[in-house]
Amino acid sequence: MSTTIKSPSVGSIAAILVENGASVSPGDELLVLEVMKMQIPIVAPLAGQITAIRVEVQALVQEGDVLLTIG
């Protein structure tokens, strides 16, 4: 059962802080979304392993776009 992490809003990816396969704990920062000059940390809602990263740094994303998945 994998969990998809979706973008909460439009914006661009300012940084990706985890690698594929990394183990994460709830609250860990996964990546940083930038919108209206504000950097918004996207945090892990649960513990698990990163199974896919779907975006690159500077990519433009829409609200609801899948950013990564945690397995």
Partner: protein, 518 residues
Amino acid sequence: MSWQPEIDELKSRLELARQMGGEENVARQLANGKRTVRGRVDGLLDPGSFHEIGALAGKGVYEAGKLVSFTPSNFVLGTGCIDGRRVVVGGDDFTVRGAAADASVGNKAGYGELLAREMRLPMIRLVDGTGGGGSVKTLEKMQYSYVPANPSWDVVVSLLTEVPVVGACLGSVAGLGAVRVVTSHFSLMVKGTSQLFVAGPPVVERGVGEKVTKEELGGSAIHARGSGAVDNEVESEDEAFDQIRRFLSFLPSNVWQAPPRRESQDDPNRRNEELLSIIPRDRRRAYDVRRLIGMIVDIDSFFEIGRYYGQPLVIGLARLKGHPVGVIANDPMHYGGGLNAAGSQKMERFIDLCDTFHVPVVNFVDQPGFLIGTAAERAGTIRYGARALAAVYQATVPWVSIILRRVYGVAGAGHGNAQALNLRYAWPSGDWGSLPIEGGVQAAYRREIESSPDPDRRRREIEEMLNELRSPFRTAEAFGVEEIIDPRETRRLLCEWVDSAYGLIGSQLGPKRRGCRP
């Protein structure tokens, strides 16, 4: 000879009314995870406080002049108390003909609205019916069609300007029922067991060819997490009753009274050390504004409304020294706090609520401006933003702003009424202007930058020069901001303010000239 036989008949008729739509229908209602209308009234009101009106209304079947069976009206009405204060409550009984309007008896619902208006009591609607327009069966029954009119609507609309109105969506609610939920100051729906729509799936399939389930069409994911038609989503009916009680606890029974104060154990001088560092020094970092609000208002008093709609803006009711206040805050986690169309609508409606019921407003400001981009333009952000600004300027309720960080653009300028006192306190993290420096330099200094041998370097130099002028202390020197405070002093100052604010409320009571709209 006494009237005892009639008293006995009265008792037996009331007993029949309590049976609602019969054992089988009641069992089905409960099996669907819902309370009966009477169970709901009991769950909402203070124990034993319900005074029912019109329990005798229904349809009796007589044989030889003797009542042999009785179906009660599908609307239960009465008054009762919430935290000791009387309210009017009216609820649909789904167990009687699905609470369909064509099975109603008299205008009980309309009588309830009138009762709330004339007695100046809060109105709570527990809606669980198929609407008011009835069904096409009405046509067969009446043998003629009618031009539709919304029943008692003059009163329903007037109530919004005079008493608190709550709409609870507790089942599949369409048409007039849906409008009755939404024509309120606060509405909620229960996840999974309630849906709200203009028309249900069969009509939608016939009309626009969409095949959808009730939940897909109008579940809480649609209305409490998207459309904004309903304010809050709750997990259970019990949570719905808790939220209704909580919402009403902040408001007076009507606009002729002041909002009720509660005893507060929380020290007005409490300083929270974390406030000194909660705003990141890096201007581009977001922070948790709900946590910030929680540290300043009376402990656990913040009651958020419409969390999942218009998310760049957080609104809710809270207390300071036990006095109700309305809280507005920008949430940098969503669009950096940039005000979008939905957030503007949320702001307008909330300001109107606070102004109508004389609830003083605390505005926590970190506003980068209206949301920009094609999606924002298409959404009509500027129209809804203009309406939110109009609400700020029309409000006459006491208002104070705490400038946490950014105040930019027209949306930032709308943090208070600049032609009035516009009482405010700025934190040292204050950062303001008509345009942010980073974006504005290239445009404003274009000739100078382009004619330089090293344009990039010239641009950075100009930016640095301007950044030095950006200090809020320079603004304070020019009295462009009246006070810069230690963030840990915010609660003390707000508690001082709220006493003065409530000193004014007494002379401002009564209806506002601007009526309240849903």
